[in-house]
Symmetry: C2
Subunit: 426 residues, 2 copies
């Protein structure tokens, strides 16, 4: 698993990884099994760990797309000081965490990182929804939901991005056992979204303004929205009271990035979640014998989803994905020039060029040139007897098929110039 | 598993990977089990596949070193047109292989790739030993070894890099059942090594010159040594008749790169194999129902060994390995400059710089500067009230501790220039 840690002053652990949802689910399962085992050491309780899913096979083209996406994501991580780590999440408690950060600062940077990733991948329009666990808890309390039902109501609310309110309300009443009155109260809140003006509005709300947890969550939202302003992420974010994320280990801010598509009526519509996360200060501590709390804020990147979107996008543009990076092909125009070809290749490799030539001693020129066109190799150097005698080599621009003679001693310089131009073409 | 394929004209499969020895061993085991199973479908024969070894945990420093090594290795692969693949080795038969390469050309390129990797890693002196399976077979035959014993004698010969001849001879006689006379005949050959002059000498050898397989192997050696000359690998290679490599799936050339250290008497001594491989034309075909032959030549890079050597080397030079790539730290000299810091960070990230600042609102300046020195961050921008009023920012060179004032509008340009200089320092 690819995993990066971003931290400062050894204070707070910020984790970026690509499978955090599954990882965390596995950890919770492990935790549950461990306590089951403790309770039933002499019983027949079996200890089962899921085996990893089978790996998919990818074509070289897919591998290139995946690598491009990963490179972009990793370069954003590095811009924010991430280091690559190989430590299981439950061992992260090795770190010193003595109060060296102030509220919402790392959290706002996580949102910034998500913004930079989605911008650099150029995936189209998106929204990063934000909410706060304490606001959700406070709101449920203020609406009259018994605390034992917070979790199940939370997961019902989380369905609002796919289902209409009437359906979710029905589930709350029929399956989760809420009264219609309580459900309706929840409904007035979870259909709200906006920016800092919504925070101000809710801070004056009759019910919420009397609830300690709700006030705390709203003050935190106010702070993070201000930081998002300073980091210029405001245009991409939305404070959304229906964002609940099913998992119950979040302790503070929660966020989720959704890609937007055009709806039938011309507006935006979510076409799926692409990244998400939040603060989970208790999760790592669960695995500590002393239950020490470890401040943690994480971003999970839905990398498989991103791969699929990028693959689909490339299929539309019909871009031919090159699977090798060969820049120069060394061809021969007549027979018995094999050794000359090998010498020239060697010289080019020594100068750092990405080069190949035919593995046949005497290939046909046409076959060699066709190979360049099929493989998208931008330049070909053609060795011929007359050119060798003149001390020159033919340089062919593969796309335009224009050939020019270049002095043997100036080949490296000329290639360098041509490739700079080639690489600058978008 | 990291795996790269280098090919041209869809002709021959050249595989570079980091675990080929184990991979191939697993495949052979699988093959053996499959045929056992065929023979004993109604018996009690069990079908066991080994589980993968547990993964080691690495520190962030180790991760950096590993990444540096991998980057260098992969850049050599790419220079030779490799593409990254995700196909199990026994499925490679999807390829068209209709006779589109001539003997020893891909083989010589593999040796070249090994040379480029070891040179770019700057691991000290090394030798790439070469030999040929057909020469080994022919030599054993010419010495009077029964063909049923070729494989076991081969693995005895392979011990010559670690054990003296007398010990290997004893094993051949006592354990493998050769007569002393036959063992001595082998001994006259396997202690020979040299370059193309040795090939010429052996082509005239009384016994070998009468053996078809030996002649074929020697002619192949002659060709590959000539190509190595053209690719300028000659100074790093050694034709060595004791190189046998234990595994018996090689069908042509075999090679192995060994690092050299100083021996007590001032000469060179092998300190361990670091890469190896050869041609194994029958291996992939084994898994083909029609037993179609697939030309394959591979390089296995002992990547774990390389990591260990590089780690040990870095420990000697006492280089401090940076685990993040942060270039600029944004510090504040007084309280209440937190928002200014955030704005400046945002501007720097937008311009592609790798930047961090404290997660505390009001950290002490000394603590911030100490962090830069500990983390090896080259530059710090210090925001202070007087500087903000003057429209400048203080730029601190962390190593020299020299501070200069830079106009706010020229910060990006100045950082760019400084970092180019910083990155050019070896």
């Amino acid at each position: 698993m690819l995993q990066f840690k971003l931290k400062s002053f050894n204070s707070i652990t910020i984790l970026f990884h690509f499978q955090i949802a599954e990882e965390v689910a596995k950890l919770l399962e492990l935790k549950a099994q461990l306590s089951n085992q403790e309770q039933a050491t002499n019983g027949a309780q079996k200890f089962i760990l899921k085996t990893p899913k089978g790996t998919r096979d990818y074509s070289p083209q897919q591998m290139v797309i995946r690598q491009r996406v990963l490179d972009k994501v990793v370069s954003v991580f590095k811009r924010h000081g991430a280091e690559s780590i190989d430590t299981p999440i439950f061992e992260l408690k090795d770190f010193d965490i003595a109060g060296a950060y102030d509220p919402m600062i790392p959290d706002a940077e996580c949102v910034k990182v998500v913004q930079e990733i989605l911008d650099s991948l150029d995936m189209g329009s998106y929204t990063i929804k934000l909410n706060h666990r304490l606001l959700l808890d406070g709101m449920f309390e203020a609406c009259g939901v018994p605390s034992s039902k917070f979790r199940s109501i939370c997961s019902a609310v989380d369905k609002l991005d796919k289902s209409p309110w009437e359906e979710v309300k029905k589930e709350m009443i029929d399956e989760k056992g809420l009264s219609e009155e309580v459900a309706d109260r929840i409904g007035t809140y979870v259909r709200l979204n906006g920016k800092s003006e919504l925070v101000e509005q809710l801070l004056k709300d009759e019910k919420l303004s009397k609830n300690k947890s709700a006030i705390e969550g709203l003050e935190a939202m106010k702070l993070v929205l201000k930081y998002c302003d300073l980091y210029e992420t405001s245009s991409n974010i939305l404070f959304d009271l229906s964002l609940a994320r099913g998992l119950d280990y979040y302790t503070g801010i929660i966020y989720e990035a959704v890609l937007l598509g055009d709806s039938i009526d011309g507006g935006d519509v979510s076409v799926g979640s692409i990244a998400g996360g939040g603060r989970y200060d208790n999760l790592v501590g669960m695995f500590d014998p002393k239950k020490k709390q470890v401040p943690c804020v994480g971003v999970s990147i839905g990398i498989e989803r991103i791969f699929s979107v990028m693959e689909a996008k490339l299929a539309t543009t019909k871009e031919k994905v090159r699977t090798t990076e060969i820049e120069v092909y060394v061809a021969s125009a007549q027979k018995n020039l094999f050794e000359e070809r090998m010498k020239l290749c060697n010289e080019l490799w020594k100068n750092g060029f990405k080069v190949e030539h035919s593995y046949k001693r005497n290939p046909k020129l046409l076959a060699q040139l066709q190979h360049c066109e099929e493989q998208g190799i931008p330049l070909a150097l053609i060795l011929g007897e007359s050119e060798i005698q003149k001390g020159v080599v033919k340089l062919r621009d593969v796309i335009s098929r224009v050939e020019t003679e270049v002095e043997r001693s100036k080949v490296m310089e000329e290639l360098q110039n041509r490739l700079v131009r080639f690489n600058n073409v978008p």
